[in-house]
């Protein structure tokens, strides 16, 4: 072994024994990310749109007279809630720590950048499922019944949406400054997906919302969902977009640079 100088450490040689740092996910990073995202009562902030969605569903169930509202409202409003929740959560798991510099403490370790990104990504997806996909299911269950095709379909579609949106927003916050990433994220959700996807053919190919709707439609079989893509296309594009954006995010974080003081 190389000659190691004697250390001040009375704990002995055991302290230097290291465990291999393999693995795609790191529990420490996941726990820190979870606490960072949920700290300061942010859970209340995340819960608000979800509660609103469930409330709207309950209200409409009680008062509406037409049967068309569930796929329209839960498809459009529900998936908008999903997208915005993912934007807030996915945008913060990497972005917030890059902005305040605390991510250096994770990056100044032998943990691979891929593990850092994936660990944060899994936390973001899980939280988005908890705060948007599950409420979507509950709203659907209230509207058309717990085992209805619509409720189940929208839930599964929302799971896919959570997976794709978070990959996208993590990538945006790894590449751009926080304010720019937020602007691009909002433009994407509100303009690209919200307006253009229903007007211009082909836009739906690059819309996470439509991957979710395609999958929801394959279970619910409801034309009022306005799913523009087939389920095969939806799944294929969802996988491709997720993988590509995560690769990009890992690449950016591998080249993470901090500017120093410049005279």
């Amino acid at each position: 072994m190389s000659s190691q100088p004697a250390t001040l450490n009375p704990a002995g040689p055991n302290k230097r024994a290291v465990q291999p740092m393999s693995g795609l996910l790191n529990g420490v990073i996941m726990r820190i990310t979870l606490r960072a995202t949920m700290g300061r009562k942010r859970a209340l902030l995340f819960a608000a749109p979800a509660i609103l969605l469930i409330g709207i569903s309950a209200l409409l169930k009680a008062t509406a007279h037409s049967p068309v509202w569930p796929p329209e409202i839960l498809g459009q409003v529900g998936y908008l809630v999903l997208a915005l929740t993912a934007l807030i959560i996915g945008g913060s798991v990497v972005g917030a720590e890059v902005e305040d510099g605390s991510i250096v403490h994770l990056l100044a370790t032998p943990v691979s950048r891929r593990t850092v990104v994936l660990s944060k990504y899994v936390v973001a997806v899980t939280l988005t499922i908890a705060f948007a996909a599950i409420p979507e299911y509950l709203a659907g269950a209230i509207a058309t019944g717990a085992k209805s095709g619509l409720a189940v379909g929208l839930f599964v579609g929302a799971l896919v949406g959570a997976v794709v949106y978070n990959a996208l927003f993590i990538m945006l916050t790894s590449v751009f400054s926080p304010s720019r990433a937020l602007a691009f994220g909002l433009l994407y959700v509100l303009l690209w997906e919200g307006v253009l996807a229903s007007l211009v053919g082909g836009v739906a190919l690059l819309s996470a919302e439509h991957y979710g709707l395609a999958i929801a439609n394959s279970i619910a079989h409801n034309s009022a969902l306005h799913a523009h893509l087939t389920v095969g296309t939806g799944i294929g594009m969802a996988v491709a977009v997720t993988v590509l954006t995560l690769i990009l995010a890992v690449n950016r974080l591998s080249a993470f640079a901090i500017k120093g003081d410049v005279a």
Partner: protein
């Protein structure tokens, strides 16, 4: 082989050159990077730590490039200047988490030891958000030392510390250096660097201005000509009298007084009072005109 090698390293952002053609080797012991704010010390530190690629030149840490090399952190630690830590964690949680990220076999034990070294045991169960700046610095250091790294990089580590904390940290770093580790720290305060470093590297305007032990640097600095601004009851007569002295290199009459360049600082300061008295000139003010760190460093650059 734990050394840091730089050969012709430069870093620029558009038109601004932050680090300009620096070549140096840093070995075991404590090395201080001294320079005014904005000199490029932090840029240099971040390049060594693998958080910034050089625009030109070669930079290796323990034989390998530090850029895109997270494995390097098994042997290397960085204590960044920026005051950013996970403030919702307690001190103990933060250091233990770092130990786990380094894959240590006994993360809790290592964390306890590191926290003890930095005298943070009393505060370790409090959230970092409740810490003072000096305490944050110390907990960052504990996290940096927890995996017993061979190379430790510290960017302005004494910021925010009270004198007692600073002395303790200096003793700690000195011991680590004595044990053969490579300790590099940056500061703009000469006394800090002098006290702790074996070798001092002076960085000014992105360039390596001077290199040597603290005695050599001090000598360079005190041997430089000093400029004073003297205002008196009769500036012209004073100027004439001063020009006759060996300790004076040049005089200039300005609206604010006589600007004197003293080639021998010590002799000049001893003589000026007696000289003015002999000529019945009353001195109103004797001010050093170039005591700023920048002027000192600029002189070093020029020499």
């Amino acid at each position: 082989m734990s050394t840091i090698e730089l050969r012709g390293v430069s870093r620029w952002y558009g038109n601004v050159v932050a680090v300009n053609d620096i070549t140096m080797t840093i070995g075991s012991g404590v090395t201080g990077l001294l320079g005014p704010n904005g000199a490029g010390k932090t840029t240099l530190m971040h390049m060594i730590a693998g958080f910034l690629p050089p625009s030109r030149g070669e930079l290796t840490v323990a034989g390998r490039s530090s850029w895109r090399n997270p494995e390097m952190f098994r042997q290397v630690a960085l204590v960044p200047e920026r005051d950013s830590v996970y403030s919702f964690l307690t001190g103990s949680e933060f250091v233990t988490a770092t130990a786990k990220l380094h894959g240590l076999a006994d993360p809790e034990g290592a964390a306890r030891h590191a926290i003890g070294l930095l005298e943070m045991a009393d505060a370790q169960d409090r959230k970092i958000s409740t810490y003072s700046k000096g305490m944050r610095q110390r907990i960052k250091m504990a996290a940096a030392l927890v995996h017993d790294p061979q190379i430790v990089l510290l960017d302005e580590p004494f910021n925010g510390m009270d004198p007692r904390q600073r002395l303790h940290m200096m003793d700690l770093l000195h011991d680590q250096g004595e044990q053969g580790r490579v300790i590099v720290f940056s500061s703009h305060i000469l006394e800090e660097v002098e006290r702790l470093s074996g070798i001092i590297q002076v960085i000014v305007g992105g360039r390596l201005a001077a290199s040597g032990d603290f005695r050599a640097i001090r000598r360079l600095m005190t041997n430089r000509p000093h400029v004073f601004l003297v205002s008196s009851s009769d500036d012209r007569a004073l100027a004439a009298a001063l020009m006759a002295r060996q300790s004076v290199g040049a005089v200039e009459l300005t609206p604010h007084g006589v600007q004197v360049r003293a080639s021998d600082y010590g002799t000049f300061t001893r003589e000026i009072a007696g000289l003015s008295r002999d000529h019945r000139i009353r001195l109103r003010q004797v001010l050093p005109a170039d005591e700023s760190l920048e002027s000192v460093f600029t002189y070093l650059l020029a020499s």
